[in-house]
């Protein structure tokens, strides 16, 4: 397992994956992780307050998401799953998009092209094939962008994910398969998804496979950067297994006390990704209490903005949705839309 920063905030070295970020870069990593955590907490709160239908928490996975997200260029393309708020923040995607989805006012109507950040995908594993196809297109274009796709340990059981591994290998597609093994797929421990460590699956398909400490933002950055370079230059695909932990419930609908022990949480809390970077920064004098407090305040402001925006998000009218299904005209849609409009209007008249 590749590690560059221990849980105690000590820097260790690795023969293949060493990087030396500047203090400024390190602070930026810290900032994005802290903002991710704050935004995520706001998601949980807003759901509890009834403002959101659901919230899948990214708590504990900030290093994996931000570290890998920061390894990318603007022209690289990201295919997220549904818990990848940290990747979104690393890509500077407006978090409100994500809140719209979980509030139930859209299914994720942001423009993927804007930040090269595709829509969240809820059917486990589907996006892994889309990313692979996209990467095949990148290769056909002779472009040197890379594609990174995010999915969980549970997703590795889906046939689609294996098919994607195989297509990527067979077509030499420049894709990085970034698996956040957070040890759980709802209530199922990872041993229910794979008998052997997940990164080992790579070799059987002809991919590179590597396991990285998913709570170590430096290692996640380094390993993803290497994988992205391999994709870019060698047209070789990599499976990264980021070994991390889902500190929260699966989603706000879940009750993890039914299936896991608090001891496990305590143990993983000691490996917290933000705390360890904070220690590292403070120990080296690359950041001080003011900096930490400043990031905290920025997070609070962002959370406040989100809260206010979410609370005032207007409910959409169903009428808008009739015309989103097809690019061209579809007679049944037209007929139903017209009927619906008249039907709705009849209430207004009647009232």
């Amino acid at each position: 397992m590749v590690q560059l920063l221990t849980p105690h905030g000590e820097r260790v070295h690795h023969p293949d994956y060493d990087i030396e970020p500047t203090p400024g870069e390190l602070r930026e990593m810290y900032r994005r992780m802290a903002l991710t955590r704050r935004v995520d907490a706001e998601g949980v709160t807003l759901q509890r307050q009834g403002e959101l239908g659901l919230w899948p928490s990214s708590l504990g996975q900030e290093a994996a998401q931000v570290g890998s997200g920061l390894a990318l260029r603007a022209d690289d393309h990201v295919f997220p799953s549904y818990r990848d708020h940290g990747v979104a923040l690393a890509r500077q995607v407006d978090p409100l998009h994500i809140f719209r989805l979980f509030r139930g006012v859209s299914h994720g109507g942001w423009d993927p092209a804007e930040k090269n950040f595709h829509l969240y995908t809820l059917v486990i594993g589907s996006q892994v094939l889309h990313a692979t196809g996209y990467a095949m297109g990148v290769a056909d274009d002779d472009a040197d962008s890379a594609v990174v796709v995010y999915f969980g340990d549970g997703a590795t059981s889906q046939g689609d994910v294996s098919e994607a591994f195989n297509f990527a290998a067979v077509y030499d597609a420049p894709v990085v398969f970034f698996c956040q093994n957070n040890q759980w797929a709802i209530s199922q421990g990872v041993e229910r998804q794979s008998k052997v460590p997940i990164h080992r699956r790579a070799a059987g398909f002809g991919l590179h496979g590597v396991r990285v400490d998913g709570n170590d933002v430096l290692a996640c950055l380094a390993v993803t950067r290497a994988a992205v370079e391999r994709a870019r230059q060698g047209r070789e695909a990599t499976l990264v297994e980021a070994f991390t932990y889902r500190m929260g419930a699966h989603t706000t609908s879940d009750d993890p006390t039914r299936y896991r022990q608090s001891a496990e949480l305590t143990q993983w809390a000691r490996k917290d990704p933000i705390a360890r970077l904070e220690k590292y920064l403070l120990n080296h004098g690359w950041a001080d209490a003011d900096f930490v407090a400043g990031v905290g305040e920025e997070g609070d402001r962002l959370a406040q903005h989100i809260k206010e925006s979410v609370r005032t998000m207007p409910d959409p009218d169903l009428t808008e949705f009739f015309d989103l299904t097809y690019a061209g005209e579809h007679r049944q849609v037209t007929e139903e839309r017209e009927w619906f409009k008249e039907y709705e209007a009849s209430f207004v008249e009647g009232s």
Binding site: H107, L122, S187, Y259, D317, E336, E344
Partner: protein, 324 residues
């Protein structure tokens, strides 16, 4: 068992099936310690062990494919698909294998596999968690497709589905999971494939199944206040359709409205309307009307109240068949 929720009635039926027949096994994602995301299998793994109540890897094709293998070995698997929108990775195994293997074998092989799917909208969920795929199964020969609308049916129909030798798609109306009703495990059940007239009426028949049955009954009650006598039929089984019961009702009332959450286009209502019209052409005072979902992906939660067929939409259709 007295009064209980629909979800608990399903749990009771599973428990009774596990007790009665050592060959019954449950399979699905998170059905063990968690008891399923709706707690429908709560307590069963604890009491029957993890061989009889199998938590599975996250792979629906794998679940149904291995359930077929277990059935070939003599087991009677009851599979849980976590949500309606997640059954499609298993669609190939269901359509090309589960549905066809009996015929392929010249009628030799029985495949007693039940696939339980919490389905339908109205719970404020995100994408893929509110769909009604029944027509996509009913068109496929070799499957039975049923949906209870209340706790008592949930219990007896699941017992019948598990006991039968055919594959059954068992659709659980998730927004009715907490509706309560009387369940009497000893009551002699109606046949699994039968529709039931659950409210008598003279002026028009409203046919519904699963989650829309309660809405249909509510609409009938309101209609009564307004002087219209509406008969309500709970279809219960989508494949086969018990046309005897449906036609008899239509012959009495002369008018039919079919209600379901699934999109109208190519939906269950189409088959009902086509068949009933063929059989009752001269008795129909008005064309059969269909009330259902629109031809669009199930929309975001904050619009679903407008998407789902509600009391007003049903009453509107009843008015239209009456005014015809």
């Amino acid at each position: 068992m007295a009064t209980t929720t629909l979800a608990k009635a399903v749990n009771a039926a599973l428990r009774a099936a596990l007790e009665d027949d050592p060959k019954v096994v449950l399979m699905g994602e998170d059905i063990g310690r968690l008891g399923g995301v709706f707690r429908v299998t709560d307590g069963l793994q604890k009491d029957f062990g993890d061989h009889r109540v199998k938590d599975t890897p996250l792979a629906e094709s794998g679940i149904v494919g291995t359930a077929i293998g277990l059935a070939l070995r003599g087991y009677r698997p009851v599979v849980e698909i976590q949500f309606d929108g997640f059954v499609f990775p298993a669609y190939d195994q269901i359509v090309t294998q589960l549905a066809k293997m009996r015929a392929r074998s010249g009628g030799r092989i029985a495949l007693p596999v039940v696939i339980r799917i919490p389905y339908g909208g109205g719970i404020g969920a995100v994408e893929h968690h509110s769909e009604s795929p029944e027509a996509l199964f009913a068109h496929v020969a070799g499957l039975r497709v049923v949906s209870p609308s209340n706790a008592a049916d949930a219990y007896t129909m699941l017992r019948q589905a598990v006991a039968g030798d055919d594959p059954v798609i068992y659709l659980e109306p998730k927004r009715r999971y907490y509706d309560k009703g009387e369940v009497d495990p000893a009551a002699s059940p109606h046949p699994l494939h039968s529709a039931r007239v659950i409210r008598l009426g003279r002026d028009a028949t409203v046919l519904a199944y699963g989650p829309t049955v309660r809405t249909a009954l509510e609409a009938a009650a309101v209609a009564e206040e307004e002087g219209t006598s509406v008969e309500v039929v709970d279809l219960r089984s989508v494949s086969p359709v018990d046309f005897d019961t449906v036609e008899a009702s239509v012959r009495r009332t002369g008018r039919l409205v079919v209600v379901h959450e699934a999109p109208v286009f190519f939906g269950t209502g189409a088959e009902i309307a086509a068949h009933v019209t063929e059989r009752c052409f001269d008795r129909l005072e008005a064309p059969v009307l269909r009330v259902g979902g629109f031809h669009m992906p199930y929309p975001p939660a904050r619009t679903e109240h407008a998407y789902l067929p509600d009391l007003d939409r049903i009453l509107d259709a009843v008015e239209r068949v009456l005014a015809y």
